[in-house]
């Protein structure tokens, strides 16, 4: 899927961006950003969205052996209105895709998506007419977890990595704070 350029934060030193002191943002706002990001990152409530066998590993992640509650993510919610992060666990069929999109739209901002397992991330072995070849064709995915299915510790690693991402986001735009984090290839796309 080609990368959409409008998702990037376009600015230079002459255009101040909220939450970015290096490029002229206010100090108060960046401090608030840190506070909000800590609160958001350490209380990620996942949405119960088990689609296939990956859901078994997702349930195992919150059980006693691995205990996702240590990272504040034990409260799985059955309603999208109370959830922060959607864990797409399993293959996403084309019939399920509009449902997934609707549930994602019902989640309140800020929201994040973990694509768990080979099938949700790319279709995996199911390269056929029935399966969406990657959940990022339907919703914006923040982090991908390879594996078939990923073990509970692999999912926990993804949650920790997602927390790191959230801690570096600007509060208002919900986008990455600095353009310096982008890779050179993307910068070339922006210039072109």
């Amino acid at each position: 899927m080609p990368k959409r350029v409008e998702t990037l934060v376009l600015h230079d030193s002459s255009t101040p961006v909220i939450g970015d002191t290096e490029h002229g943002g206010a100090v108060v706002v960046t401090t608030l950003d840190t506070l909000f990001n800590q609160a958001r990152a350490n209380a990620l409530w996942p949405l119960t969205f088990g689609l296939a066998c990956c859901a078994i590993e997702m349930m195992s992640t919150v059980a006693a052996r691995f205990d996702l509650a240590r990272f504040g993510s034990e409260a799985f919610r059955a309603t999208p209105r109370q959830a922060d992060v959607m864990i797409i666990a399993g293959r996403l069929s084309k019939k399920m895709a509009p449902v997934l999109r609707q549930i994602y739209d019902q989640m309140p901002d800020p929201k994040w998506v973990i694509s768990m397992g080979a099938c949700a991330s790319s279709g995996g072995v199911y390269n056929n007419y029935a399966i969406v070849q990657g959940a990022d064709q339907v919703v914006p995915v923040d982090i991908y977890v390879p594996g078939c299915p990923p073990s509970p510790d692999a999912l926990m690693y993804a949650v920790i990595k997602l927390q790191n991402k959230i801690k570096h986001q600007a509060m208002k735009t919900n986008k990455s704070m600095s353009i310096l984090e982008l890779k050179p290839r993307e910068l070339e796309e922006v210039k072109a």
Binding site: G123, P146, Y157
Partner: protein
Amino acid sequence: MSFDVFRDVAKPIVSGFGITARRLKADKVTVQYPEERREQFPRTRWRHVLTRYDSGLERCIGCSLCAGACPAKCIYVEAAENTDEARFSPGERYSHRYEINMLRCIFCGYCQDACPTGAIVLRQDFELANYEREDFIYTKEMLLEPIR
């Protein structure tokens, strides 16, 4: 039958906490993941590694049998000829490009079974999650074991 405070309230509470107290002596089951890792099973299959011989030459001969065995069709191999000036593997050919799409891969280990020289093996490094789709095309440089 009348209501008795001791029998109906105090006794169930005490016996209930008794179960909790007895469980306190049991071993703790939680693995404190980022600080400590659980022991992986010996045949756990995770991240692929392209191994070398003790001499430092690559084991991979670019035969594409792994790509043929792969049920997800996530391996791409492009072979090239070895020359005396540039020798990568002991045989005639070596893999010039070797790419695995980690998002497609289902870690079944069929590539490991199919490999005639034991070049590709699946090791126990499971921390593969990443932010961008492009990061999951593992090239030969990422897969190849460093020279010992």
